[in-house]
């Protein structure tokens, strides 16, 4: 096909012919076309189907307000549903298909819905499909869902990259039409830092679509001149293909820039960039959107907004029809007839509602062939240009929930109420509907804002232009129609639906929207809402002012979810934190596990080991038998210094800390103010005024935050200072009976004997001949154990040196799984027990709560319900049948009791296979658990198909007296 509808003129580049595929057929267009203009150039009028009735749909507009011409762009994983053909820039090789039809587009089987429309009126689905009850999920809903939606996702990961970014400016101008350009010129000449964004791929706004002159030259030439001046100014950033989609708090705007959508191949560059724009002021110059009127069968392909018809003729050099009729209620619509006549297109009728003439119905099946006038005359037309007036694009003014106000002169809603702070509006968006006035207003706004912000330069004068005539009359719909008249073209809401909504009591505008789905389609009703409101007002016998309007919410136009997600995908969803021994661990068979942001080795697989249990059992056994080494760098470390550091610690830990001697470590329990335990760890005193606190890996950030709160807000005059050193030290646990012997070969000149360096001792020292280190004698495994820390830069070297030195003891590296086995055997609590729901008493640590001081949480830990004698208590559990492997998360029931919530006795928090004992062991909370040693209870886990008897025992499965760790 050879672009049969292409005519002279326009801004397309006829030297650059582009081939594209539409529904499998190859066609051509030019650089500068949109997919819509190229389709029209090729005579394609039927391009889609409506949502509910599957009515034929064509191209209705020339911009982002398009309700009808939605296509699927590209194919394979890059398939992009619901894409407006009117905003897609044509590129060579573009591939697009129509959507929402069963069978070929021209013979959509679902069009049967149109015949059933009397039974599918507003809200019909709320009134049926209820019987029989089971049929909803099985029969009705699958049918409804099968016909739901418009386009299709590819079901494959989006192949493109996205990015985000941050921009700062004095003034953001939204819209590069005559108002926006004038404002940007004035503001930038004055010296402001200006960002000018426009959703189109060429600046100019309506000037690109009209034949107006500006400054004595063609509008487009002035636009080129203005943009050249802006481009030459280093303080201006002009961003086309960029939509400001939302006004957020305090002058922050969201904008989406389409970087590669118009390219055949993005070459791995981000497809779109989501900008967060920080502004001191913003000027909305987003223009206005034309709307239709309601008349019979006003939805056929070939029926178009008049302004769009002019855009196709003037900007793209395409005739939307050969014989065009015009139906208007304003002067702007009449201009269409003039423009088209100038291009030699036949005008078959100009129907002006202000003269009492109307189009009552249209004729045609897959496209309009003729119109029928109110007086019964039939007039041929393959295109009907309709103008029902223009609605200012006030959307962003409403994003802080301010409501626009009705302006009878404009016959539309204009900005009103409270605008987002810092925002002003100029041009058609402000209800200023003629060219010269728009330019003056834009210029004035730019100059005024520059003045407000103290810019000293001269804004210059606004460019000369002539005001065209603008006389709109409020005409909404033709009365006495026999056929349906559409209000919302995409969602198939007709004038009858609006009236029925009112009849059924859905009389608030929000009820109207929700009941009929008016304005809820992908175009957010930009061409439909005002018409719907006018009809609603009429039905209620009220004015439009009294009826009000729904609120516009972000985004102004739909934005790809991928763009909001930015780079945070796949493994880059969140940063990785790596321990200093990570590289060594990779080399030594480690399997890694996510622990918050950290990656930790969970076990080290040896040749011949079949499953993870083999590795973990070996590691845990070897710790108890000889010695093991585990990277524990991930524990939070907070350096605490100051004259009042001890006093401070005493107030943030529930147990006493004031008298901790220098050179000693103490276990500390931290409560929230509500008396619940939320973290634990050890704190070492390195000097009178210097402590090092450790926290759990999970709570490191929270504890630091809470300590800063206590320091700054609760006790601002304590001399205490905090800094995180978590990443600064590579810290290794060295556990097992041979740990002392191993360390003796590592640590320089420190007496490690039990007397000189007993359990809970700490010291600054050096290792391997002079590398500074810190040594702590603490144990999570219950064995004789230490933790040794060196500056992180030595971490990799340290693990290699430790393993080398440990060879003579058959030292093993152990991971988090063995760490867990060892602590469960020993009965130490961890995250599975300290869940933020447990009290010290539940944990068996009630005696640690000091009663002789004030510390966070102590007071409220005394409340009755937290101290009931029949409360949950930590206990150990072993299967009665020793071969059973226990399940964490099982609930306890007394044997013989029914399995229901009223008889719930507690739950199993942690389980492990104990290589030491040769059985599965568990920890858990059981009502009065400490009093029930030796009893048998059911461990009931229906989701794991397990129901076994367990024996209640001490949580200290191994070395209950703590002999080993003190040895």
């Amino acid at each position: 096909m050879t672009q049969a509808m292409r005519i002279e003129g326009g801004m397309v580049d006829r030297e650059r012919t582009l081939a594209f595929s539409w529904n499998g057929r190859w066609m051509t267009g030019y650089q500068g076309d949109t997919l819509a203009s190229a389709l029209l150039a090729n005579g394609e009028r039927l391009v889609g189907r409506s949502f509910k009735y599957h009515r034929p749909r064509g191209i209705f507009s020339s911009g982002s307000e398009e309700p009808s011409a939605l296509v699927q762009l590209r194919d394979g994983a890059a398939q992009e549903p619901n894409t407006r053909a009117t905003t897609v820039e044509l590129f060579d090789g573009l591939y697009a298909t129509s959507q929402n039809h069963r069978g070929p587009l021209a013979f959509d089987l679902m069009a049967v819905n149109d015949l059933l429309s009397p039974f599918l009126a507003a809200g019909f689905y709320y009134k049926t499909f209820m019987w029989p009850k089971a049929f909803w999920e099985r029969v009705y809903e699958p049918l409804i869902r099968a016909s739901a939606g418009l386009g299709r996702l590819s079901m494959q990961p989006d192949p493109d990259a996205y990015d985000h970014g941050f921009l700062h400016c004095d003034l953001l101008v939204i819209g590069a039409g005559p108002a926006g350009l004038s404002a940007a010129l004035a503001a930038s000449r004055s010296g402001l830092r200006v960002i000018l964004v426009d959703e189109d791929f060429v600046p100019g706004g309506r000037l690109s679509a009209e034949t107006h002159e500006v400054g004595g030259q063609a509008g487009a030439d002035w636009v080129a001149e203005a943009t050249a001046e802006l481009a030459a100014n280093g303080n201006v950033r002009l961003m086309t293909r960029t939509t400001a989609f939302g006004a957020f708090d305090h002058g922050i705007y969201g904008a989406i820039e389409r970087r590669t959508d118009h390219l055949v191949d993005a070459e791995d560059r981000p497809r779109q960039v989501l900008w967060r724009i920080y502004t001191r002021r913003a000027l909305l110059a987003a223009g206005a959107t034309e709307r239709s009127m309601a008349f019979g069968n006003n939805d056929r392909p070939g029926i178009m907004l008049a302004g769009a018809v002019r855009a196709y003729v003037n900007r793209f050099g395409v005739a939307p029809g050969r014989r065009v009729a015009v139906f208007t209620n304003n002067d702007d619509g009449l201009r269409t007839a003039d423009d088209l006549s100038d291009k030699g297109i036949e005008i078959t009728a100009v129907v002006d509602a202000r003269q009492g003439d109307v189009v009552e119905d249209t004729i045609g099946r897959r496209g309009i062939r003729a119109i029928r006038l109110g007086d019964g005359r039939r007039i041929d037309a393959d295109c009907l240009a309709v103008s029902g007036g223009w609605s200012p694009n006030v959307h962003l003014t409403c994003h802080h929930r301010g409501r626009p106000v009705w302006n009878a002169e404009v016959v539309g809603f204009v900005p009103g109420g409270e605008l987002p702070p810092g925002m002003s509006v100029a041009g058609a968006a402000n209800g200023t509907m003629t060219l010269a006035a728009t330019i003056r207003e834009g210029h004035g706004a730019g100059a005024e804002i520059a003045g407000d912000l103290g810019a000293g330069g001269s804004p210059g004068t606004p460019v000369e232009a002539v005001d065209e005539s603008f006389a709109a009359a409020p005409f909404w719909h033709v009365t006495g129609l026999r056929n349906r008249a559409w209000v919302d073209l995409q969602n198939d809401v007709t004038t009858k639906d609006v009236r029925q909504s009112h009849q059924e009591g859905f009389r608030s505008v929000e009820h109207l929207k929700r009941y009929t789905t008016l304005g809820m389609a992908t175009d957010q009703g930009r061409t439909a809402n005002v018409l719907g409101l006018a009809l609603m007002a009429e039905a209620a016998g009220k004015s439009i002012e009294e009826t009000g309007t729904t609120i516009f919410r972000p985004p102004y136009t739909p934005v790809a979810i991928g763009a909001f997600g930015g780079r945070a995908r796949g493994e880059h969803f969140r940063p990785h934190r790596l321990t200093p021994s990570h590289k060594w661990a990779e080399e030594n068979g480690a399997d890694f596990v996510e622990a918050g942001m950290w990656l930790r080795a969970q076990w080290f697989k040896k040749p011949g080991e079949k499953g993870w249990r083999d590795s973990v059992d070996r590691e845990a056994s070897q710790v108890r038998k000889s010695v093991g080494i585990c990277d524990v760098t991930t524990l939070g470390k907070i350096d605490i210094q100051g004259r009042d550091a001890a006093e401070f610690l005493n107030r943030v830990y529930a147990n006493a800390f004031l008298k901790l001697p220098v050179g000693k470590v103490r276990y500390g329990l931290m409560l929230r103010e509500d008396g619940i335990c939320y973290d634990d760890g050890t704190t070492a005193r390195l000097s009178e005024s210097h402590f090092v606190m450790t926290t759990t890996t999970a709570n490191a950030v929270l504890v630091f935050r809470n300590l800063e709160f206590a320091r700054q807000c609760l006790w601002p005059d304590l001399d205490v200072h905090l800094i995180s050193t978590t990443d600064g030290w590579a810290q290794f646990a060295i556990a097992g009976p041979n740990s002392r012997a191993l360390l003796a070969k590592v640590v320089d000149d420190l007496d490690l004997s039990n007397d000189a360096f007993p359990f809970m001792a700490c010291a600054k020292c050096s290792v391997f001949g002079g590398t500074p280190a810190r040594l702590f004698r603490i144990s999570f495994s219950g064995e004789l154990a230490y933790e040794i820390a060196v500056p992180a830069r030595f971490g990799d070297s340290m693990i290699r040196a430790l393993m080398k030195t440990g060879e003579e003891f058959d030292a093993v590296p152990y991971g988090t799984e063995a760490l867990g086995v060892l602590r469960i055997e020993k009965g130490h609590v961890a995250g599975n027990e300290i869940t933020g729901q447990t009290t010290a008493r539940m944990l068996g640590l009630g005696s640690m709560l000091s009663s002789s001081k004030d510390a966070i949480g102590l007071r409220l830990s005394k409340r009755d319900a937290m101290n009931a004698d029949d409360g949950m208590r930590l206990a150990g559990f072993r299967p009665v049948d020793r071969s059973v492997i226990l399940t964490a998360g099982a609930h306890f029931l007394n044997p013989g009791d029914p399995a229901d919530m009223a008889h719930d006795q507690g739950w199993m928090t942690s389980v492990a296979y104990s290589p030491e004992l040769g059985i599965s062991v568990g920890l858990g909370f059981l009502k009065r658990g400490t009093e029930r040693m030796g009893e048998t209870v059911r461990a009931y886990s229906p989701v794991r198909d397990q129901d076994v008897l367990v024996e209640v025992c001490s949580p200290h499965h191994v070395d209950p007296d703590g002999v080993r760790q003190r040895g």
Partner: protein
């Protein structure tokens, strides 16, 4: 007028001219037995059950805007009973059972759609917690299944099973969970209550309480004073404001939760999916839009709108777990104001003012609770006794130390 397929046929053949208003638009009477403040889902459900189950028909619902204008019309429509604690789970299971018979009960198709809810987990401790929760659900008579990675891959091949930063290690699956057409719930309850004589008064804001000697005798409104034997606050999102009119300070903060819907798409998701390593949950409506959300913005607010960082956070979660949605476009974002309570759980209780009752603190779990909340509140109002399943929702539970803290984050509302 009873709704049925036959009625639709008849109306369709006669030009849909015979439909009656779904509810009256009455002016308030000077006195009622019970006045409910708040014409949202919970208030309308309370009125409905008062009339239908407890024979209380001299009831008014006062709504400051249009009925259903609160969170009933701004949520992400999910129903489920997958709670952990004894204080919560039986209540939510009761609610789910009421959902299951609701449409036939009030003769309105609210599209209760039990296509399941899948909570993904990404670590061993998280899976252990899900096992404990699943078992608690089973103990309360609910359905719960633990799935492994292979089963999830089969069920949802489009999730990121390959390169995820936080690999999927399992899931808690509740087949009876699902979604409901939210507005229709308000309309169904309103229509059902109205038919039983309840006055639903729209555009009627409560401006004060008539309290004498510790007893509530009625309310002041923009439509004049109304006397009542019992006054029932039920204004989630504005609970603190309304309660302050009666001199009460509540353990509640108001926060905004944003929600999002994409353009309409052919069906891709069967049920609800929640991401366990970020803030993202999603379902697909019968119209085809992906309905999704994440975390609250975190600051106190009564403005029904949020900010960009949370939008990005939610979509990051979506792209992390479900990278096929990158080219679907976000169509609309909106915000609802939540009563965030100090332990994440609600209140259905008397207050210290005689005759004044409170239903509040639903955090962002209020929608799924709508039927049981209405039923239990009606039970309390009519009988003076708490309903068995709502007996833990006491206003004084923090004094006792009997928190119902599912998340274990304590008295910090923006973390629940």
């Amino acid at each position: 007028m009873r709704y049925s397929a036959l009625r639709i046929l008849k109306e369709g053949l006669t030009g849909n001219r015979g439909w009656q208003p779904a509810w009256r638009e009455p002016e308030p009477k000077p006195e009622y037995d019970i006045v409910i403040i708040g014409g949202g889902g919970h208030g309308l459900a309370t009125a409905y059950y008062l009339a239908k189950e407890f024979g209380e028909r001299n009831v008014a619902v006062l709504e400051k805007g249009w009925l259903g204008s609160g969170n009933i019309g701004r949520n992400t429509t999910i129903i489920r009973s997958n709670y952990l604690l004894e204080g919560n789970q039986p209540f939510y299971e009761f609610s789910l059972k009421l959902w299951e018979g609701l449409e036939q009960d009030f003769n309105y198709n609210a599209m209760v759609s039990q296509r399941g809810i899948l909570n993904l987990c990404h670590s061993d401790p998280q899976r252990d917690a899900f096992v404990r929760r699943g078992n608690a659900m089973r103990l309360s008579g609910a359905d719960a299944v633990i799935l492994g990675p292979d089963e999830i891959r089969k069920m949802c091949p489009y999730l990121d099973h390959e390169s995820a930063r936080f690999p999927i290690t399992g899931a808690l699956w509740q087949p009876r969970g699902g979604t409901v057409r939210h507005d229709a719930v308000a309309w169904g309850y309103a229509r059902g209550a109205d038919r039983r004589g309840v006055d639903i008064v729209q555009n009627c804001e409560v401006t004060g309480f008539d309290i004498k000697d510790g007893r509530c005798l009625g309310v002041e409104t923009t439509k004049g004073p109304i006397k009542a034997k019992k006054v029932a606050m039920c204004a989630a999102g504005s609970s603190s404001r309304v309660a302050a009119l009666a001199g009460l300070r509540l353990p509640i903060e108001s926060h905004v939760l944003q929600a999002f819907v994409s353009e309409g798409l052919k069906p891709v998701l069967p049920g609800v999916i929640t991401f366990g390593a970020g803030h993202f949950y999603v379902s697909q409506s019968d119209k085809g839009g992906l309905v999704f959300g994440g975390d609250i913005d975190g600051y106190n607010t009564y403005a029904q709108r949020g900010n960009l960082p949370v939008v990005e956070d939610v979509c990051e979660g979506g792209m992390a777990i479900m990278p096929m949605i990158g080219r679907a476009r976000l169509l609309r974002m909106w915000g609802g104001v939540m009563d965030m309570s100090m332990d994440g759980s609600p209140f259905i209780d008397r207050t210290h003012v005689e005759g004044l009752y409170l239903n509040a603190g639903w955090c962002y779990g209020g929608f799924k609770a709508t039927p049981a909340s209405g039923y239990c509140y009606a039970h309390l109002l009519a009988s003076g006794q708490p309903h068995e399943t709502a007996r833990f929702f006491r206003l004084d539970r923090f004094r006792q130390g009997a928190m119902i803290d599912e998340k274990g984050v304590g008295a910090q509302p923006n973390l629940h």
